[in-house]
């Protein structure tokens, strides 16, 4: 289990592993939005939490199609399926590795990018908290989408279409936490719902992902 996590992290950080792609994309979105929206500082600080959330979500989506596709192509998915490790665990560990290499870096750079969007000082903490709570759900849901489309040529398009609706609850509650926190309002309700969505998908989706992987391996 630890071995699988270590291997996935090692591959991600080596040449061609794709680490940094999501952060670069996130950076580009947040740099470009002020140019597109114009130099209206109050408007920018108002939409900053939402832009950060949408940017992080799309950046997360970018690396999903590689999650199982690479293991499928080189045959290691077949071998993992015959290994003593349960497939549910394989899926969970790979989602965790995806979060550590994609979600976590996005969470950590979000406050720095908030500066570019004139995020009010009260917002930094809540952007950090809401992304920290929400991005694990993005990785786990993404792993489910990747499991569904593994083995399809150019499955990335189908993957995005399948996953986007599932991302909506996380986006709504996550962005709401960041927005209310920034405006100084109570964040309790969206925060609990965000945490609830994340915990539910972590608990349930690995079983669904493992089931569809088994079907796709046939």
């Amino acid at each position: 289990m630890i071995a699988l996590l270590r291997r996935d992290l090692a591959i991600a950080f080596r040449a061609g592993g794709g680490f940094g792609l999501s952060i670069a994309f996130f950076l580009i979105v947040t740099v470009l939005v002020p140019f597109g929206v114009g130099a209206d500082v109050t408007l920018l600080s108002k939409i900053a939490p939402g832009i950060l959330w949408v940017g992080a979500l799309l950046a997360c989506l970018l690396s999903l199609d590689r999650l199982f596709a690479l293991d499928w192509e080189d045959g290691s998915l077949d071998l993992l399926a015959t290994a003593p490790l349960p497939l549910e665990m394989v899926v969970s560990v790979k989602a965790l590795a995806h979060w550590l290499t994609t979600g976590l870096p996005l969470v950590l750079v979000a406050p720095a990018l908030g500066v570019l969007l004139n995020l009010p000082p009260s917002g930094y903490l809540w952007v950090l908290v809401s992304l920290g709570l929400g991005t694990p759900a993005l990785s786990v849901i993404g792993a489910f989408g990747a499991a569904l489309t593994v083995g399809l040529k150019r499955g990335g398009l189908l993957l995005s279409l399948l996953v986007l609706p599932l991302y909506v609850p996380t986006l709504i509650f996550g962005a709401e936490v960041a927005r209310r926190g920034t405006a100084g309002q109570s964040v309790d309700t969206p925060l609990y719902l965000l945490a609830g969505v994340t915990l539910a998908v972590i608990a349930l989706l690995p079983f669904a992902s493992a089931a569809v992987l088994r079907v796709n391996l046939r």
Partner: protein, 204 residues
Amino acid sequence: MTIHVQNLSIGRAGRRVLEGLDFTLLDGRALVLRGPNGIGKTTLLRTLAGLQPALAGKITGADDVIAYAGHSDGLKATLTVTENLLFWSEIFGNDDISKALTQFDLEALAHRPAGGLSAGQKRRLGLARLLVTGRPVWVLDEPTVSLDVASVARFAKIISHHLDTGGSAILATHIDLGLPMAETLDLTPYRAKPGAASQDEAFL
């Protein structure tokens, strides 16, 4: 660790390819599958390995004893030979890879990235994985593809040793490995009759 197969029917892509298969694989024995391309050798091996369900019939004794080696070796190009092998040995709960490296003559390559190996060297690394799994039944799909003559002889010796120490192997191969304990099973008589009920098994 004896594997019994009774009245097994298997299919690929919703089409029945083989039916009525019966055989027994005893400890210390090897079974060589023969038959023309497309007869269903790979499908049979994948079914035995548990990667796909049988359409009918029974396989007993195959749970958690099989080490499967298919057409692709499951190697990561950016990891070194040692890292690749160490990963699989840890997954299977072992930690000694030195024996596997020696037996497959991979020591000189130990620190090279797997992506820089030749096809034959990759295959040797893929087969070395069998030794680190510690599993008794090897299910091998065309294991000698892209191996040179010396490596084939080396591999035949490794299989013989595996059989001598109580392991067993079932392999699909077109060349004669010269295994003393091997029986041959020709799959041609088991080809499914045309029109045999095919079924939509994708989500069942």
